[in-house]
């Protein structure tokens, strides 16, 4: 059976150690991409992927990436929530890869939320 072989695991381990010098640094920002059926159909996985690429490029180690279920607003998918810890989470709607780049640069890295792409200020539960 072809598994992820020991060499592969070692390669991942090495990269992991090289890149992850500080894991304990608690998250400063949390990004959540919503992956319900409608989100997935609207391209949310690509949005998740481009946030992950942006994180890698920025070399930041204090950004927590996560995915969640349906956000309850199918017509505005793909959606993501950005929460700078200590501030209200911002829900972004109708996302595209270009919007992700702008949101990442302005909000995630510089803390200034991008009003024109945002749905509302408040908790994830408000719909």
């Amino acid at each position: 059976m072809a598994k992820l072989k020991i060499e592969d695991l070692e390669k991942i381990t090495e990269e992991f150690k090289r890149k992850m010098t500080l894991r304990e640094g608690a998250g400063r920002v949390k990004i959540t991409v919503h992956l319900g059926t409608c989100g997935i159909a609207a391209g949310a996985r690509k949005i998740m992927n481009s946030f992950m690429e942006e994180i890698e490029k920025s070399k930041a180690t204090d950004i927590i990436m996560t995915t969640s279920g349906c956000a309850g607003l199918c017509s505005r998918e793909p959606m993501a929530t950005v929460e700078v810890i200590g501030n209200a989470p911002i829900k972004y709607v109708d996302l595209t890869i270009d919007k992700v780049k702008i949101i990442f640069d302005k909000h995630v890295m510089k803390g200034a939320f991008v009003q024109e792409y945002a749905l509302s200020v408040g908790s994830e539960k408000i719909q």
Binding site: A2, K19, L35, C38, I40, E56, T66, T67
Partner: protein, 179 residues
Amino acid sequence: MDDLSLYILDISENCIDAGAKNIEIIINEDTKKDILIIEINDDGKGIDEDMIKLIQNPFTTSRTTRKVGLGIPFFKEAAESCEGKFSISSAKGIGTKVKATFKHSHIDRKPMGDIAETLIALILRAEKTEILYYHKRNGKDFTFRTKDLKLQLKVKDLKQVMLLNSLKKIVKQKISELQ
């Protein structure tokens, strides 16, 4: 949905919602027999017998207040439109099995898409769910287990972006080698 890896992501999300501790994603491609089988099994809370029929048809309850999902009907439709079959079986408290078969060469059969990205999305979602991915194509196969990787890395969870980006590349490579 554009490709099968997106359906797999969607169906596996149900397993996580059902509190599964383990999810198995099993893909079997046999181009000689011209068949593609996708199985997604979990040990989550299961589905009531009377619900099983209901959830396979998005129209059944459209007039009740209960919000009926689309994930299962979509996947069923994808298989059945490719001379395939769909089945879902479940036992309360034990788990659920979803199985879809497709005629491999069928003109409407959607491409496999990016399975590695699907696995990463699931790892990011699931705090406490272990994922087993097994993919067989003709003579060759590939297995990936989150449990193995955690043991190897000596970490409790894999939710780390740089790690997942590397993992994605390697899994993508391994799956392409099955071709």
